[in-house]
Amino acid sequence: MTTRRDFLRGCLAGGAAAAATVVPEVACARDTLQRPPEALGLLYDATLCVGCQACVAACKQVNANPAEFTAVDKLWDTPLDTSGHTFNLIKMYRNGTMETKDAETNGFAFMKTSCMHCADPSCVSACPVSAMTKDPLTGVVGYDADACIGCRYCVAACPFGIPKYQYDSPTGKIGKCELCRHRHKDGHYSACAEVCPTGATLFGRTEDLLAEAKRRLALKPGEWTTMPRGRLAKPGETAEEAARWKGLRNQDYAAQVGAYKQHVYGETEYGGTQVLKLSAVEFEKVGMPNLPPKAAAATSETIQHSLYGGLVMPLAVLAGLTWVAKRNVVHDEDDKQGGQS
């Protein structure tokens, strides 16, 4: 006669067998995503930066962010780090006497801190509700406050510490650079690049920016060269394509080539980022972490999707628990006598 216990035991065995056959199919690895071909981004050249913070001021203005005070007099916007209300910040590397710009010892150097717009963003991967999205065309990592549930997984996930939560508000949102995508339709590009007087922050297609960065690395330090400012035009850009963007088309000027470290930060890091950086000081010293070409999002999603694909892990865990439970259960017949007393 089939008891209730036998029925359950049969179900479990069947489930485990089914799971075992499903596992090889779902455990497929996810590759690191690559930049879309028309990806937009920035090129930040620390050797051109003069630390005027025009980009910080412009960013605050176009994103309607309030000033943040860290000094007692509360006169100047002096954020110490990016925050829910500061999406872009120029930080400074300091060493010794701080005499020479872009020198690693006894020098100082500037570094822009803002969203890198990763090809394979960890924040998008970690977001449980798709409030963090990556635009399939421009590659801009955007944020949708209406979809956000405030879990702040993106804050923990980002290797650059960029998405920040507005802890000062009961209805706080995530604050981060979205490459001024809300201004793109009016023909405005990233405000930080628009106002940069030296072209240290340059806006354009990441592909063109990468070529420009490599051109600079190939030049001899101290040599005079033409540096673009504002927006870097795509090679062979037609007047029609240029008309999409406002502002002067050609703001080139002559400047001296910096003593770069031979590395374009963001070319391969985590599968590449859309914001690229050049520096004369080692990148790790100016707060840019050393990242492998394989994105963390690819690793974690491979593990997660393998484990949860076809409910494999829940079933396996249930089977294991049941087995342990069964082993520890004392059979009814054993305590029949005791039960009668």
Binding site: V50, G51, C52, Q53, A54, C55, A57, A58, W76, T78, P79, L80, D81, L89, I90, K91, M92, Y93, R94, M98, K101, F108, F110, M111, E194, V195, C196, P197, T198, R229, G247, L248, Q251, Y253, A254, A255, Q256, K285, V286, G287
Partner: protein
């Protein structure tokens, strides 16, 4: 320093006489002296010293030579307004030789120069305007049959001080730009010794006047930088005190002449303003005594860097300036900014005490858990034993 109190100059007839000589009221005269002292960056009380010196000392004899130049420097000096320059050059200094301003001509004026040099040997101030052509033995500039080279060496030999006025005299200026067919050179190179330079095209008259009055008051020329420029006027970048600086910091730039930003008075850096690499006080004392807005940048033209060798007349006007004032800012955050502070000794002690108490309490509870159960069991066993004994009994 001589006198340091204006009160001591009260009822001083010499001050009144000096004021009258300069066609000023006594009050205006003292204000003028205070203004010169302030331009020099002198401490409080220096105005009295300047006033006393101007009123009492013998007017220094000045010999002014013109070489390869446009006379713009002299024109600039003529447009100083307080006091008007004719008063200054006739009454504060004794301008004994100046080719443009002299009424006399020919042998007469050359005789005046020789007379002044003889009478004030080792006492006079030599002011040189214009570059000195050196190629082909300096034949490209001759006055009274003498080349500029000869004239300069002759006049400089017995001068108490030599002042090179204008960019041409200071480093060669415009005449020395390539290909420099006349071999135009500067006063210090020709004389082979450093001189005080007042570069500018033209220089601000007050920088010159203040230098002269400094010499008059203290018997020595003011402190100069490595290029011979008086530090009181040429130690600050134009960019540092520019009225448009706020626009630079906020990233608001005029992009083209006549565009919206240009009309609104935005920063001219992107139009090629050389303010960030030019040392001068134009942005502080302005030009021409006509009130605010009277210097190139205020008028909407980028600074051309006329006081800076290698910038003025050499870099194209549209070319971008190299920012010389990139210095570590106190405002910029570090790469990793420490936030909050570590635990204080007091808070650590309190925490340790709480943790210790919790751990102790936990241990006691854990110990007693088993004990109470055991006690209950023993109690029940005792009761059962007594009931069974009773029932048996």
């Amino acid at each position: 320093m001589a006198n340091t109190s204006l009160i001591q100059l009260e009822n001083n007839p010499q001050i009144d006489a000096a004021a009258e000589r300069l066609s000023m009221s006594r009050r205006e005269f003292l204000q003028f002296c205070a203004a010169l002292a302030t331009t020099l960056g002198l401490p409080q009380g220096a105005d009295a010293a300047v006033a006393e010196a101007v009123a009492t000392k013998k007017r220094p004899s000045v010999i002014w030579l013109h070489f390869q130049e446009c006379t713009g420097c002299s024109e600039s000096i003529l447009r100083a307004e307080h006091p008007t320059l004719e008063k200054l050059i006739l009454d504060i200094i004794s301008l004994d030789y100046h080719e443009t301003l002299f009424a006399a001509a020919g042998h007469q004026v050359e005789a005046a120069r020789h007379a002044a040099m003889r009478e004030n040997k080792g006492q006079y101030i030599l002011v040189v305007e214009g570059a000195i052509p050196t190629r082909d033995n300096g034949v490209y500039c001759k006055i009274g049959g003498k080349t500029a080279l000869e004239l300069l060496k002759e006049c400089a030999a017995d001068a108490a001080a030599v002042i090179a006025i204008g960019s041409c005299a200071s480093w060669g200026g415009m005449p020395s730009t390539g290909p420099n067919p006349t071999g135009a050179s500067s006063v210090d190179k020709v004389l082979g010794k450093p001189v005080v330079t007042i570069p500018g095209c033209p220089p601000n008259p007050y920088n010159f006047l203040t230098t002269v009055v400094h010499f008059l008051t203290f018997g020595a020329l003011p402190a100069v930088d490595h290029l011979g420029r008086p530090k009181f006027a040429y130690s600050r970048l134009i960019h540092e005190n520019c009225e448009r600086r706020a626009h630079f910091d906020a990233g608001r730039f005029a992009m083209e002449f006549g565009d919206d930003g240009h009309r609104k008075g935005y920063c001219l850096y992107k139009l090629g303003c050389k303010g960030p690499e030019t040392y001068a006080n134009c942005s502080v004392i302005l030009f021409g005594d006509a009130g605010a807005g009277t210097w190139p940048v205020a008028c909407g033209h980028p600074c051309i860097g006329c006081t800076e060798q290698g910038v003025g007349f050499e870099k194209p006007i549209h070319a971008m300036a190299k920012l010389k004032n990139i210095e570590p800012s106190a405002f910029l955050p570090r790469i990793v900014e420490e936030k909050g502070m570590g635990a204080s000794l007091g808070s650590a002690a309190v925490l340790a005490a709480v943790a210790g108490a919790a751990a102790g309490a936990g241990a006691m509870v854990a110990k007693n858990l088993g004990l109470s159960h055991q006690a209950e069991e023993m109690e029940r066993a005792k009761q059962e034993a007594s009931t069974s004994a009773r029932s048996e009994g």
